[in-house]
């Protein structure tokens, strides 16, 4: 494919792709997301490819990123009509192909309500999907992540074209500010203000970074986004770089996800080949390059200053951020860092405008949010809902409630640095500020359901154990304070609690929270804090009565 030199060439190329594709031709999308892959969706895809090959050019088979409904994988979606088949095995392949050719549906593989037995054939009828607003992840079933043409076919890079050809960097920045896009990585800080700080920093060389270092326990949506649709994230990054005035970007991600690495490497190479990275992008005069970087395997690598140290080639240790990284980041240059989901939101904001974006969501949290749903939930998977959606919708309508007919005890948000709230707060809306006030900040968006049998002390111990292993160990309160908290919690779970343990924990939470260098230590006590707020009697009785609460 020759390089696309102008926006007109890109649009012409897009038209050619669309003209060459017959929307009526059946296409079978096999999910190769992490969960489906674990259930050997590769064998299903191979069976489809082999069998469809014998049929001539009648059916297309596409291996895609995560569809979302991990619980029922391997997932297969047949278009047109978005017919969803669940738990598909290689043996089911002939039936699906035969039915698809005849325009029929394989009844035994469609969704069946566990209570009523009612069937749902199309994606918009399946309860798990029906209550979602899939603006970001909805394209995943339509895209082979290795094929940039698929992204063009769903309107990809139209946002970049619009930004580069019709808007000034200031207008792009303004649009993102007006959209009130808040960072999806945990803090909920307005992305527009952050961009502006980097843009206005005096230093000329500036960097933009995708933080794809998702390591929080129970969070797996960024991985699905970046693996399943890498070009969407890249498009957002290029638009952001244009607004900020950066000519160099980094994608920072984990070293231990081979599929993600393959897709991102391929996406970067394709974007370069098509002229979407490099010099004079689409004839706009704007130059931008992007490099892929990997972590060294600890969670704290995802902390912004540690991440930047890591890109510089140093050990991923956070540094005190009295001067923000948006002013003084990689090699002391202004560096704007946003997470995968934040960047993925940018193309649609430019395409459809801030007004459209702010029409979705709650008063102070706009747009949709990707949530990883797991724990004792009937339907685990990746969910996308408008901000402000009541947790009840997430847990019951989409999640199908608690597994094995048990009662909900707690909802935990934000992994090891988040918090747990009791079941009676289930009508709270999904909102950055609201959830923070309740003590369970959304964090990156990992939602963990816990049923009546859950031992909250064991949960706290488990999360603390995770952090102790993922801390860098540079500063005393994090290194020592968390280790002490872990020892006390371990004693409690073993029924060896002592009088004064709670006071000791409270002291440690306070000092670790105030004195730690980075957010890992600062928020390490948050799960415990939320549990002391809502589940303290459980702790007290465990200390008083040894192990009776088990």
């Amino acid at each position: 494919m020759p390089k696309l030199h102008t926006a007109a060439e890109l649009e012409k190329y897009r038209a050619e792709i669309l003209a060459s594709r017959d929307p009526a031709k059946p296409c079978i999308a096999v999910c190769a997301g992490a969960a489906c892959d674990g259930m050997d969706s590769a064998a299903v895809a191979a069976a489809f490819v082999a069998a469809a090959g014998k049929l001539g050019d009648k059916i297309e088979v596409r291996t895609t990123g995560c569809h979302g409904y991990c619980e029922k994988g391997p997932n297969v979606v047949v278009t047109p009509g978005d017919i969803c088949y669940f738990e598909v095995q290689p043996a089911d392949v002939p039936d699906i192909l035969a039915a698809t050719l005849k325009g029929e549906v394989v009844e035994r593989l469609v969704y069946k309500d566990p209570n009523t037995g009612a069937k749902a054939v199309h994606m918009n009828e399946v309860p798990f999907y029906k209550h979602q607003t899939r603006l970001l992840i909805g394209d995943n079933p339509k895209i082979d992540p290795m094929n940039i043409d698929d992204y063009f076919a769903v309107g990809g890079y139209a946002g970049l074209v619009k930004a580069l050809t019709t808007m000034t960097p200031d207008q792009v920045l303004d649009e993102v500010k007006k959209a009130n896009l808040r960072g999806r990585g945990g803090g909920g800080f307005p992305a527009g203000s952050k961009w502006e700080t980097t843009r206005n920093a005096p230093e000329k060389t500036k960097y933009v970074i995708v933080n794809g270092h998702e390591g929080e326990s129970a969070a797996f949506m960024d991985r699905a986004m970046l693996t399943g649709n890498p070009h969407k994230v890249l498009e957002g990054l290029i638009i952001g770089a244009y607004a900020i005035g950066a000519h160099k970007g980094f994608m920072y991600t984990r070293h231990d996800m081979p599929l993600l690495e393959k897709h991102v490497r391929n996406a970067l190479a394709q974007a370069k080949e098509y002229g979407l990275l490099g010099t004079d992008i689409l004839g706009s005069g704007f130059d931008f390059e992007c490099e892929l970087h990997f972590d060294v395997g600890i969670f704290v690598s995802g902390e912004s200053s540690a991440l930047m140290r890591s890109i510089e080639g140093n050990a991923p240790e956070p540094r005190p951020k009295y001067i923000r990284t948006s002013v003084n980041g990689i090699w002391d240059k202004p560096s704007n860092l946003n997470n995968v989901e934040t960047w993925a939101n940018v193309p649609q904001i430019i395409n459809k405008g801030a007004e459209w974006f702010t029409s979705i969501g709650s008063e102070k949290s706009k747009g949709t949010k990707l949530i990883s749903l797991s724990g004792n939930v009937v339907n685990s998977g990746i969910v996308e809902v408008p901000m402000g959606t009541p947790l009840r919708t997430l847990v019951f309508d989409i999640g199908g409630g608690v597994r094995d007919g048990k009662t909900l005890k707690a909802i935990h948000f934000g992994g090891a640095m988040g918090g747990s709230i009791p079941a009676d707060l289930i009508d709270a809306p999904l909102d950055f500020d609201g959830m923070s006030k309740l003590g369970a900040p959304i964090g990156a968006g990992g939602l963990l359901l816990m049923d009546e049998d859950t031992d909250m002390i064991e949960v706290a111990r488990y999360l603390m154990d995770f952090l102790v292993n993922e801390s860098c160990g540079k500063c005393v309160p994090c290194r020592e304070g968390m280790q002490q908290m872990l020892q006390i919690l371990t004693r409690l779970t073993e029924g060896e609690g002592k009088k004064g343990d709670l006071e000791l924990l409270e002291d440690l939470i306070e000092v670790t929270g105030t004195a730690s260098l980075c957010a890992l230590g600062k928020t390490s006590g948050d799960p415990l804090k939320s549990m002391f707020r809502y589940f303290k009697p459980e702790y007290e009785s465990r200390i008083a009565g040894g192990s009776e609460a088990k």
Partner: protein, 222 residues
């Protein structure tokens, strides 16, 4: 360059732009405790003992003074109930590792820290990194480094480098607050290159300057 005026412990203090709060305080003779700080080394911000209360535009925050830059009109309090509590707990946490380190004992008295408050794990090292950073920044030898992470982080001499570089230096021994650097080196030497120091001294009798290694008497552990 014009001076920046700030308040430390109620006293108006003048400082140069780019100075840290710790430097501004030291220049005025106001004492802020530190463990990982050394004037020859880049600020580390690891021990957090130098944490102070800063009031700026109506906001109170807790910052490490060895890194925090001076700014116009900020109000710094080097002691407060919360600052003292932070220091007390930090000292208690460190005393679980090095209960007899003289500096920690002094700090424990000052802040009322209970050396037995936390479960003992007598590693003797408080991982302040003075040895590691001194060897890297001042001596530029990198004979000692950090290994592992989190609670497992420790210092370790790299035998291949240490056998060549350490025999006539050992300056890290004197800045180590717990004497652990010396112990760690001697252990490395005994395991990896025993007797080497003596051999070199015998071969080059004139070179080494005799260095006094201060090992403070360890008080009796209660």
């Amino acid at each position: 360059m014009t001076d920046i005026v700030l308040t430390i412990d109620g006293k108006e203090v003048k400082a140069k732009a780019g100075m840290t709060v710790l430097q501004a305080a030291q220049q005025e003779g106001i004492h802020i405790p530190t463990l990982c700080h050394h004037e020859k080394l880049e600020a580390f911000g690891g021990c957090r003992l130098c944490m102070v209360e800063v009031e700026s535009r109506g906001w109170t925050s807790y910052v490490v003074s060895c890194v925090y830059p001076v700014a116009k009109d900020i109000v710094v309090r080097t002691r407060s109930e919360k600052v003292d509590k932070i220091r007390k707990v930090l000292v208690e946490e460190l005393m679980a590792h090095a209960p007899d380190a003289p500096e920690l004992i002094k700090l424990a008295e000052e802040y009322g820290a209970d050396r037995n408050r936390f479960e003992r794990d007598a590693s003797f090292c408080i991982v302040c990194g003075l040895c590691v950073r001194y060897c890297n920044e001042v001596k530029q030898k990198n004979a000692v480094g950090f290994i592992d992470n989190g609670a497992r982080r420790e210092i370790s001499f790299i035998p291949e480098v240490a056998r060549k570089e350490c025999w006539d230096c050992q300056e890290c021994f004197t800045i180590c607050p717990t004497s652990y650097a010396q112990a760690a080196y001697l252990l490395s030497e005994a395991l990896a290159f025993p007797g080497q120091r003596k051999k070199i001294k015998a071969e080059k009798p004139l070179q080494p300057k005799s260095r006094v290694i201060p090992i403070m008497p360890a008080p009796v552990t209660t």
